[in-house]
Amino acid sequence: MTHTSPPALEADNIHKRFGSLEVLKGISLTARDGEIISILGSSGSGKSTFLRCLNLLEAPHEGRIALGGEAFKLKRQKDGSLVAADSRQITRLRASMGFVFQSFNLWPHMTILENVIEAPVLVRKTPRKAAVAEAEALLEKVGIADKRNAYPGHLSGGQQQRAAIARTLAMQPRVLLFDEPTSALDPEMVAEVLNVINSLAEEGRTMLLVTHEMRFARNVSTRVLFLHDGRIEEEGTPDKVFDDPASPRCRQFMASHR
């Protein structure tokens, strides 16, 4: 099969340091439409930092990023890191890349519904009525329609994360980035969030998923990356990476996470 359209998301040779510590040593990734790529690795391997570099929440020191073939315009700061050169462009591109955080980051002074319609109304200029209708459908989909008028502080962690996913979906992003979406949850709430992510996967959405949920990653992914020490140590289909990795480190990691 040949692809004529540009890939949904491309990252090329991403480098990032914190002070003298180099946490990303050149990571490249291409996500085609509909691909679900899980990024695994022990803590400190750079997987979250890599994800955050993709929408410039973190300023990389080297590299190139493109969304749907449109390259991010970057400029170099005094400290050598790269930041957005065109604030309009980055705002527009970020709106097309949904980001789901480990700590949900809902806005506590707004109800769940207000959280979900905020960006569509302000950024997409969706009429309020249409935004509310869309938001209600999304809240229904993630199973918390009854919480529309509740404030985030009154919801359980699992409910908050599902609300955060609905908020992200409301912008109709082209790519979804999940940064350890279940790591801050009590064990009994992990499943409800994974179910939502799984239903998104079944819709054929393009997703990047940083996670420690190994079984889930194996089931849902079309491709798996294993990061170690700021580099891609192993890459391939879930079966290959989980059952037959070439790298001894990856083998060791898989063995200890069974």
Binding site: L57, T91, R92, A95, H109, E118, G153, H154, R167, M171
Partner: protein, 230 residues
């Protein structure tokens, strides 16, 4: 209590005090937000300006500030106008001078209140706004500011109480507020206790009303936080 017909005058004085307090607090809130933004800025020049503002204003007694603004402003405006070849005497007047002096003072203290509040808004919430494509203004205005209020309100309320009573200082430049009206009445009737006591009761009444207003504002700002976890 016999007010010897000075009752309506005291009432007018009260209205003037309230007007002055409200206009000074409006100026002060804007200055406070600007000051806090400047002091939290990445740019060293802005930080220095914010630092200079709070250091100078907080280092000068309020009474002196009132006199400096009242007498200094006419000198300064005169000097500026002379640059354009206009030789005339312009003064701010007691009300505007009071607004500027008290506004500057409120702003300097409010800068620190806002700066402290800015630090409490979690970075992640701003990142969430950025990741959804909200621009810097939306992010500040819709996400940061409403939460800033919640944290800053008690501190700002305190400052407003102080401001309310500092309005009495503007009587020295002849603004017809409570204090001056009381002084005039005392001079006329030779009954200092009656009128200063009366003024004290009015100030007390105003602070009680303010407390009530602040409680209502705090209640509103705390929506969503009641019964909240952590």
């Amino acid at each position: 209590m016999n007010l010897h017909g000075f009752g309506p005058q005291l009432l007018l004085g009260t209205l003037m005090t309230v007007r002055l307090a409200l206009s000074a607090v409006s100026v002060g809130l804007v200055l406070g937000l600007l000051g806090a933004t400047a002091k939290s800025s990445r740019h060293a020049t802005l930080r220095l300006m914010g630092e200079g503002y709070t250091t100078i204003v907080r280092g000068i007694p309020e009474l002196l500030m009132v006199l400096i603004v009242y007498f200094g402003s006419s000198t300064m405006i005169g000097a500026v106008l002379r640059q354009f070849g206009i030789d005339t005497y312009v003064e701010l007047g007691p009300f505007l001078s009071g607004t500027v002096a008290l506004g500057l003072t409120f702003g300097a203290y409010a800068t620190e209140v806002f700066r402290g509040a800015l630090l409490t808004v979690p970075r992640g919430q701003i990142e969430a706004a950025q990741s959804l494509g909200l621009g810097r203004w939306h992010c500040f205005h819709r996400i940061v500011l409403p939460q800033l209020w919640r944290i800053a309100l008690p501190g700002l309320g305190n400052l407003f109480m102080v401001l309310l009573k500092d309005t009495a200082l503007i009587s020295v430049v002849g603004l017809d507020e409570i204090m001056r009206k009381a002084q005039i009445a005392v001079g006329d009737t030779r009954e200092p206790f009656t009128f200063y006591g009366c003024a004290a009761l009015i100030y007390l009444g105003l602070t009680v009303v303010t407390s009530g207003g602040l409680m209502a504002l705090e209640h509103r700002a705390n929506r969503g936080y009641r019964r909240a976890r952590s």
